[in-house]
Symmetry: C2
Subunit: 124 residues, 2 copies
């Protein structure tokens, strides 16, 4: 596949299943299935008061906020970020993301493909 | 570096130097310097009538439009895309991007780090 055009509105939303999460949905925009061998681009939508619970995984990720207000906890630091702000989180570093605004939170997330793509839910 | 928070407004803009380009600027948001070993996230800004000229490189890229209207040529196909639309372009596939709207065009672009990061300008 030499190239792939897409629209986010055409990509199915799946509920984020990480233990303790609620009101969070993911769309896999660019993946191995669209021809991308090394990384995936996903869009997340989180309802007001929704959360992706504290967890870690063996791949690094970048979050770029498109709309709304996110409270991002990374290890023992918690910051509120909004449109045009971003965070890079290295592999194995625990993190969580909450929607702390009154409207939907929307962000992009880039991850590489690694051998072990499993997600470990964490207390806290 | 375990993590890195950033704001796009704090990241310097550099002019895109690919031969034939004009009115196009890049910000390197997430890179090896911010702790990301495998991929980079960049933001591009293109003025009305600006263009990133036809070129190719040995790494694949994903373009995600944030604002404005882009005319993307990939090989012999040309499409107009706007906010929430994206395109994955595989390695070695020639492409160009023009701002065909009346306002600034803004998009994100994800690329992996590969051994040869050189860019080859092309006629056309």
């Amino acid at each position: 596949m030499n190239y792939h055009f897409g629209k986010q509105e055409d990509v199915p939303k799946q509920e984020v299943k990480i233990t303790g999460s609620r009101g969070a949905y993911i769309q896999w925009l660019v993946t191995k299935d669209t021809g991308s061998p090394r990384y995936a681009l996903r869009r997340f939508l989180i309802e007001p008061s929704g959360v992706i619970a504290y967890h870690k995984h063996k791949y690094e990720e970048t979050v770029y906020v498109l709309k709304g207000f996110a409270e991002v906890r990374v290890e023992n630091e918690t910051r509120k970020i909004s449109s045009g702000e971003f965070v890079f989180i290295d592999q194995n570093v625990p993190h969580s993301i909450k929607n702390v605004g009154n409207s939907e939170l929307e962000f992009l997330c880039v991850i590489p493909y690694v051998e072990d793509m499993s997600i470990t839910p964490l207390e806290g």
